[in-house]
Each structure stands twice: as C-alpha cells, then as structure tokens.
Amino acid sequence: MGRVLSSIGTLLFVGLALFLLTRAGSGSPARIVLGIDATAQQIAEFDHQHGLDRPVLEQYAVWITDLAHGDFGRSFVTGRDVAGEIVEALPITLAIVLLAFAIAVVFGLAIGVRAALHPGGMFERLTRLGTVAGLSIPAFWLGILLIRFVAVGLRWLPPGGYAPLSAGWGAHLQTTLMPAVSLSIYYIAVLARMTQASLADTLDSDYVRTARALGLARPRIVAYALINALPPVINLAALSFGYMFGWALIIEQVFNVPGLSRALMNAISQRDFMLLQGIVFLFTLIFTAANLCADLINRYLDPRQRAAA
C-alpha cells in the first residue's frame, strides 16, 4: 500500500514538472490560436476564458483533478477533447505494444531456457552473439530494413499503415506484425539473457542437486527450477512493458501508423499543449504503473520481500 501511495505521489510531482515545462515553452497558447494580429485585449480575454490568467499551481490543481476523473481537458488549438483523441489513438499503439510484448516474452523465455539447459553448447554461444546484436540494433532501423526487404523486396506484407481488428484478424496482423517484431527484438534479447542467467543459477543450486540425487525425473527438476527462476524474469518483463511504449513512438513513425506517436507529433508541430501534456502524462502513467507492477510482483513472488514489506 505504501508503495502504491508513493507511486501516486511521484506521479503528482512528475505531472507538475511536466505542467511547468509545457508552460515554459515559447509563447502563450492565445498567440498561437489567435495569430500574431490579436490585440492585447483579445489575448487577455482568451486567457481568462481558459483559466490561463490564474496562478500556475491553481491551473495545475484543476488539470490534475480533472485528470483523476478521466477528463484530459480540451485542446486550445483544435477545440477537440484530448481524452477523445487519446481514445482514438491509444488502441493502435496498444495493439502494437501488446503483440510485441507477447513476441518478446515467448521468444525470450524459449531462447533463455534452451540456452540454460545446454550450457557450453552451440545454442548458448549463438544466444550470446544474438542477444548482443538484439541489444544493439536500433528498433527503428530494423523496421526500415523490414520495410525495404520484406515489404518492398519480397512484397509479403504491406509497408505501413494500420488495419483495425474490425477489418479482420488477417489484415490486422499484416499491419502490426512488422512494427511489433521491430519493437520486440531488444526485449527478446533482454528477457532471454535474464531467463538464461536466472535458470542457470537455479540449476546450479544445492536443492536442485539434491533433487537430482534423489532421482527425480529431469523434466520435473527443470519445471521446479523454472518456477524458482522466473521472478526476476517477470519483474523485468513488467519493466519492459513500460519501456516499450516509448520506443513504440519511434516505430510508429517508421511504419506510418496513426497511433499516439502521430498525435504527439501533431501536438508538437501545432504547439497544442493540452494534447501534448495529456499524452506525455499518459505515457508516464503507464510507465509508472509498469514499474509498480514489477515491484509488487516481486514482493508477491519472493516471500523474503513480502515479509520485509
């Protein structure tokens, strides 16, 4: 409970930093909306209408209270509801991130387990090379290469865009597969390494040796060891989920996907501060929640930490 409260406190604090930063940007929103010809009186009127003439802290309090009620405010520039824009774009980003997360977890675990079970083998050596490559190849470059060689070269998949689930699973997967694969490579490497290290460590432990000495079947031993090796992997997977959203911004640009990335870039180019701070706060919220989950899962899975909490 204390951990949840402190996360909320952190979020309020970080939200304030974000709010102040967007306010520190060049020029009042009134100038941007009303144009250069606006008179001082018009600007004052605009500011008064939108509550911009009140103290910054008061504005923040209003914004954050509305946020807690699911109201992200209204854009000064387009007049549109920020929550509405987010509801439109978030599912697209979420679809890519979830698919990437699933790919990363499945392949990361499979590769890590296999490498840990055959130490010193060819597969382990390949895994070591492969994970260094996976950690080092920028996701957006991989995306560009996939478009160049898989979409344009082989014509297997469309080079970009997005088809919602309502257009059918096939079309949906065709547009989300390459972005998700590009996004997942880094996390496959991260999770494979952690799985391998943790499982190898567990297989090396005294109780596994005892189990072996008692004559337990190997699959059972591996299953037990895996259960005990998983907590750090799950923890890292939860953290990865938070990080993936950030990189999804770049990947969406590569594949021209109309997700949160496009909304954020539009907000930046139109100086739409309400939309911008809404989206950035959403990302921060997701990231903090992922961190919190990682922490709570750790505590739940590790009785020593549960006792300490």
Partner: protein, 294 residues
Amino acid sequence: MTRLRGWIRQIGASGVIGAAMVAVMLFAAIAAPLIAPYNPLAIDILGRLEPPNLAHWLGTDEAGRDVLSRIIFGARASLMVGIGAVVIGALLGVSGGLVAAYAGRLAEQLIMRLVDGVASIPLLVWAIAIVGILGVGPVQVGPLLLPNEVKVLALVGCLFSPVFARVTYAVAKVVVAADYVKARRLQGAGHWAIITTDVLPNCLSPIIVQATLLVAIGIVIEASVSFVGLGVQPPQASWGTMLSDARNAIFSGEWWLPVFPGLAISLTVIGFNLFGDAVRDLFDPRSVTRTVIA
C-alpha cells in the same frame, strides 16, 4: 606491456573486440575532418544516388553527398550525445548519491525521493516532448551557440542520473558503516578523505559498467530522436537524420542509403555493449544480467 597483456586476458576476446570497435568509432569522430574523403555537406547534383563505387565507397545520397563522409562526421553527434549524457548523469548522480548517503535523514529522503521521481519518467517520451516544446533551434550559452542536440544530451543526462545515484548511494551506505571506515574516522579522517579514498574507489567499478552500457543506450536514443527530426538538424550529418532521409529511398531501391548508417549505429552500440559486458564480468562475475535497460 605485461600489464596490458594481463588486462586483455582478463577482459576476454569479446571485450577486446568491443574496445577496438569503440576505439575505431572514437577515432573516426575525433579525426573526422582528416579521414573523411569528402566534405560531408558538399552537394553534387550530377553525382546523386550513385551506388557504392571506387570514388564513393558507400555511395552518394539524393543530394550527391558522400555517404561514407557523412557517416564519419555523424559519429561526432552520436558519441558526443552518448558520452556527454553519461558524463552529466554520472556527475549529477554520483554527487547526489554521496550527499544522500552522508547528509542526514532529511537530505537523504529528499534526494532519494527525487531520484525515484526522475527514474519514473519515461526517458524517450519526455526527451521528444521537451525538445518539441523548446523547439529545435540552437542554444545560446554565454558566447557559445550550441546545436540543438545539446538539449537531447542534457535531458538524457538528467534522466540517466538515477542509475548513478542509486549505485553510489548503495555503496556509500555500506562503506560508511564498515568497521575499517569507523576506525579511520576515529583516527581523525574527515568526510572528504573517506569519500575520496574509501567510497569513490568502491563505487568506481559499478559506475564504469553502468556508464559503458548507458553510452550504448544514449547513442540509440540520439539516433532515434534525430530520426524523428528533433535531434541533430539538417544539413548536419547524423546517423539518425541519414536514416530519416533514407526513407524516400526505401521504395526506389537505393539500398545503401538505409543500410550503412544503421550499420554504423549498430556496430558502435555493439562495441559499447561487448565492452561493458566484459568489464562487468570482470568486476562482478556474479551478476550475469544487466541492470539498465531502456
């Protein structure tokens, strides 16, 4: 010489390969004007989109600029942001961690809460948003006019600092409580003496490991931010902007434009990762997995 050989044996083949890759890229960045065959900004409309040939080893881009020369000059921005961000992060984090470990409960609470707060910021999103708010113009610092990527450098540096603060804080807490340090204090050693002779040397190896791995992340972040147009500004050469320009070439078949800048990023980052992993295995063989991800 024997020391060098012993060090090479300890750090292993992959560590040496990583160090060599990093050294090559550092050399390219520093000596760029001397080794680049052409001016990276020189436009040659008649020689545009040439595939790799003897005159242009990696071909030319849509403005006829030499790709190899642009990659060599691009190493400057990448390494400057990657290394600069880590230096800023280390300075902020190490001093913060030291103060937190030393200066009583209130400062400790304040600083470590602040560290938690900064650590809960999704780095890439904020870097994009803040540069977006501030705009992509150059920054005037006194008499110096600094390019836009300095903003990325400073931001990423601040957001890297919690890693260093936590490492330093953890080590300093343990060292300060150790018997030999108590003994030194009883002998009259001051805080500063204990920090410089006991605390910092003990933090050094984890700091070096984190720093090397974070440079790798910093380079990818610089390339990504430049790719979306908020980092290095054209016409200056950077690997991220070269890849952004190359998006037009994806459909028209000039394969060398999207391939080579990405290779440059990947090889540099592989170098830092190999070296960082090897150094970590050397200092702390038990921790097989990395603690920093992005």
